[in-house]
């Protein structure tokens, strides 16, 4: 390859990156931060931004599972209930013999992964539409919560959980570190393994994927299993950050995870997208929420402002390419 060729290549590559959706979303986040720090006192403080990213970590981790599911052509409406079940259920797994607190965490993650696998089972084998299957799963979990919520009088005194929720190794909140690890793994799995390629194929057309030999049923189950695992992980972090789980702790993460995915440029129809977009998407959502909080206005106006901001940002970043 000649030198000029290399030059053209890198220039065009820079152009693809700069015009890509994830980058655009990142640029918008930066823009909102800069504008907000001028408009609102204290907004741009390092500690505040760090806190926002910490909050975004939870949405981002739930959105990681959601991104997998959406790219594979589904949607997971049970993530909120799974987050709650994880946060509320963790103390039930407390074992005195394990002072590290790792066993309950592993048990909860295993449980939420199984919940996700059941979602996948319904979608792949019963052929129930993902929206219906996961909505029904959320309903089941509500029933489960009635049974387990407040069932034990134990407080969540799990050292590992409170470390994840509160510690700041190297000045970075542990939740963010977990998110970084999750992000790297997710991006690699999504874009650099055959498994990732199968997801995109399934989302773009399940029939063509099936006839090309993609194991549809197992892949579907894996995807929902991952989503369950991620929601469980988020539940543990949220539990650590709030010191105590409660029913409803997961509620904000359903719409937030979907919004982060779509704001990040992943097609809700499946087959196209990247988690690299969901990451700034999650930060963006948290930022707007924080911005609205410090605005002095009646609840009605705040709600209107919030919706309008999302709409405007969507206009900047969210054009859906023509399909079909």
């Amino acid at each position: 390859m000649s030198i000029s060729d290399a030059g053209i290549l890198s220039r065009s590559r820079i152009r693809t990156i700069v015009t890509s959706r994830p980058f655009l979303t990142f640029a918008i986040v930066a823009l909102v931060w800069i504008v907000a720090s001028f408009v609102s006192r204290g907004f741009g403080a390092y500690g505040h931004l760090r806190y926002l990213v910490e909050l975004a970590a939870v949405i981002g981790i739930v959105a990681a599972g959601q991104t997998f599911v959406v790219i594979a052509g589904g949607i997971d409406l049970s993530v909120a209930a799974i987050v709650t079940v994880a946060a509320v259920g963790l103390p039930l797994f407390a074992i005195d013999a394990d002072p590290t607190g790792l066993t309950p965490i592993l048990a909860v993650l295993a449980m939420t992964t199984v919940i996700g696998l059941v979602n996948g089972l319904g979608v792949a084998l019963l052929r129930v539409h993902p929206m219906i299957m996961t909505l029904a799963m959320a309903t089941f979990l509500q029933g489960l919560l009635i049974i387990i919520a407040g069932g034990s009088a134990v407080t969540a005194s799990n050292p590992l959980v409170s470390w994840v929720g509160n510690a700041r190794p190297f000045g970075v909140p542990a939740g963010i570190l977990v998110w970084v690890v999750v992000s790297v793994v997710v991006l690699v799995v999504m874009h650099a393994t055959p498994f990732g390629a199968r997801l995109f194929a399934m989302g773009a057309g399940p029939l063509a994927a099936k006839l090309s030999g993609v194991p549809i049923a197992t892949t579907t189950m894996a995807v929902y299993g991952i989503s369950g695992f991620m929601a469980g992980l988020a539940g543990i972090i949220v539990l650590g950050m709030n010191g105590q789980g409660y029913v409803g702790i997961g509620d904000p993460y359903l719409l937030a995870s979907i919004a982060a995915v779509v704001l990040g440029g992943t097609s809700i129809l499946g087959g196209l997208g990247t988690y690299a977009g969901s990451i700034p998407g999650a930060i963006l959502l948290v930022t707007i929420t924080a911005l609205i909080t410090v605005v002095n206005a009646s609840p009605g106006w705040r709600s209107i402002l919030f919706g309008t901001l999302i709409l405007v940002l969507l206009l900047l970043s969210g054009r859906e390419a023509a399909r079909r």
Partner: protein, 500 residues
């Protein structure tokens, strides 16, 4: 002769800066069937979209009755009496035949769709094309061939002065093709201007009086067809002397069984017995929609199948599912490439690599350079035109078909299940595909070729199993093969009924 009804004058069109048509002109005369020929991707469909207002030219003009039209749109084209049968079916599956035929041009009474008038007019259009299903049948219940007839009826319903047909026969049976040919003759006699695109040159020879040939977006010929033979047509298209379309047939059939089944039932197919040898090309013929596809899908593990006994590549039993079939050396190329063969929104390279992704260990790290190398090799081998990083959407129909076939080659399958692989494929590509098939059989592998193109069956196959109403009606040996024999076997039932 009279003046053209519809004409394009020096039109150019590009997509994302890639020129697809360069200053092309064409004139459609009343009472003339005008052929538009060219290789896959030459720009035929694009030209049609310009003529019908679905796309706007970047430069040049469209003229109707000698008048240049400014803002040409589909509804305006319809008012001017231009009707198009698109290459890609776009019927609405949940609407009835009648509602599909009238779509966009419903007769009204008091602001409502006038179902009485619709029944009369759509019924008349259906009669013209020999479509006898009840008008209330949802289009989703029809086979591909019948849908194509609905699409043609939809064009006729508009009582066109100009009728444009983009590969209308690619999914039609011989009978349906005959009906269409007769119909077009009649319309021509009534003074309709017809533009006809087909990769089946015998049809063109039989039907058309004039030809325009496109090559890489430019017009290379615009002349009367009088005195031109098939070889001449190909010469016009590819710019050099054509060889034989079909490779010379020699049997490479061996004694080793590739697939043997008995008591096989899947979908519409009942109680089938077949024995396919390595090195054989087995044709599957018959009228469209008799269950042939279910035979392939059942063998491939894609739909549930029952079997009394089966051997596939030496191992007993049918594949349990598609991955199992792939492991056992089967590969399947579907007919409906848009829905079943490819992911149109994904890059060509991803499409080419999908079977590999499906078989590699799920979490092994991918090597982009190795993928690129494989894809480039396949693209060269199959002469796939186009940037491998671009979405498969941007490929012409024929090139898409090549991708759907090429993607299996890295796996070196020992049994190839082909469902109408040359549908909508230009002659040159057809020749390439035919050569590949015989080469494939010669290397000791088995090919099952389901085709609606009867000459293909005649020239390529060791044997042809003709399917009728879910059963294998006849198996013809190569020596007995002729188009007439296949059609006769396919029509058997009707013959008997007529005789009675």
């Amino acid at each position: 002769m009279s003046a053209p009804i519809l004409a394009a004058r020096g039109v150019s069109k590009g997509f994302f800066g890639n020129p697809v048509l360069r200053s092309v002109s064409i004139e459609l005369m009343p009472g003339r069937v005008h052929a538009l020929l060219g290789e896959n991707g030459a720009g035929k469909s694009t030209l049609i979209n310009l003529l019908s207002g679905a796309l706007r030219p970047d430069s040049g003009t469209i003229e109707i009755d000698g008048q240049a039209v400014g803002h040409h749109s589909p509804s305006e084209a319809r008012r001017a009496g231009i009707a198009v049968v698109q290459q890609e079916l776009s019927l609405t599956s949940s609407l009835s035949i009648a509602e599909n035929i009238g779509l966009g041009a419903y007769p009204r009474r008091h602001g409502l769709v006038d179902y009485g008038a619709l029944a009369a007019r759509a019924g008349a259009a259906c009669d013209l094309v020999g479509l006898h299903e009840p008008l209330a049948t949802p289009v989703g219940d029809l086979s591909l061939g019948r849908r194509q007839m609905v699409e043609i009826a939809k064009a006729l319903y508009r009582k066109p002065r100009v009728l444009i047909l983009d590969e209308p026969t690619s999914s039609l049976s011989a009978t349906e093709t005959r009906i269409l040919t007769g119909l077009l003759e009649r319309l021509r006699a009534e003074g309709v201007a017809i533009l006809y695109i087909s990769h089946r040159l015998e049809e063109v020879m039989r039907l058309c009086q004039h030809v325009t040939v496109l090559k890489d977006g430019t017009c290379t010929a615009d002349r009367s067809l009088e005195g031109v033979n098939a070889a001449g047509l190909v010469r016009l298209m590819v710019g050099r002397d054509p060889g034989d379309l079909f490779p010379h047939w020699t049997s490479t059939r061996t004694a080793d069984t590739a697939i043997a089944i008995s008591g096989f039932s899947a979908g519409a197919m009942q109680d089938v017995a077949l024995d396919i040898k390595a090195g054989e090309v087995l044709g599957i013929g018959g009228l469209v929609g008799q269950g042939q596809e279910d035979l392939l899908l059942g063998l491939y593990g894609a739909i549930p199948a029952k079997v009394a006994s089966a051997t596939v590549n030496g191992a007993p039993g049918l594949p349990a599912n598609v991955p199992d079939a792939n492991r056992r050396g089967l590969a399947y190329v579907p007919a409906d490439r848009k829905r079943e063969g490819l992911h149109l929104i994904h890059p060509i390279i991803t499409n080419l690599m999908l079977p590999a992704f499906a078989r590699m260990p799920a979490l092994k790290l991918r090597s982009r350079s190795a993928e690129r190398e494989t894809a480039m090799r396949l693209a060269t081998q199959f002469a796939i035109k186009g940037d491998l990083g671009r979405a498969a959407q941007a490929l012409s129909g024929g090139n898409q078909q090549k991708v759907a076939l090429a993607k299996w080659m890295p796996h070196d399958p020992s049994v190839l299940l082909l469902n109408d692989p040359t549908r909508g494929v230009d002659v040159e590509t057809k020749r390439e595909i035919y050569n590949m098939l015989s080469g494939f059989a010669a290397s000791g592998k088995a090919v099952i070729l389901l085709s609606s193109d009867t000459p293909e069956l005649v020239h390529l196959c060791d044997r042809v199993a003709v399917v009728r109403e879910g059963k294998i009606a006849t198996v013809l040996d190569h020596g007995e093969l002729s188009e007439e024999a296949i059609v006769a076997a396919a029509m058997g039932a009707e013959r008997e009924r007529e005789a009675a």
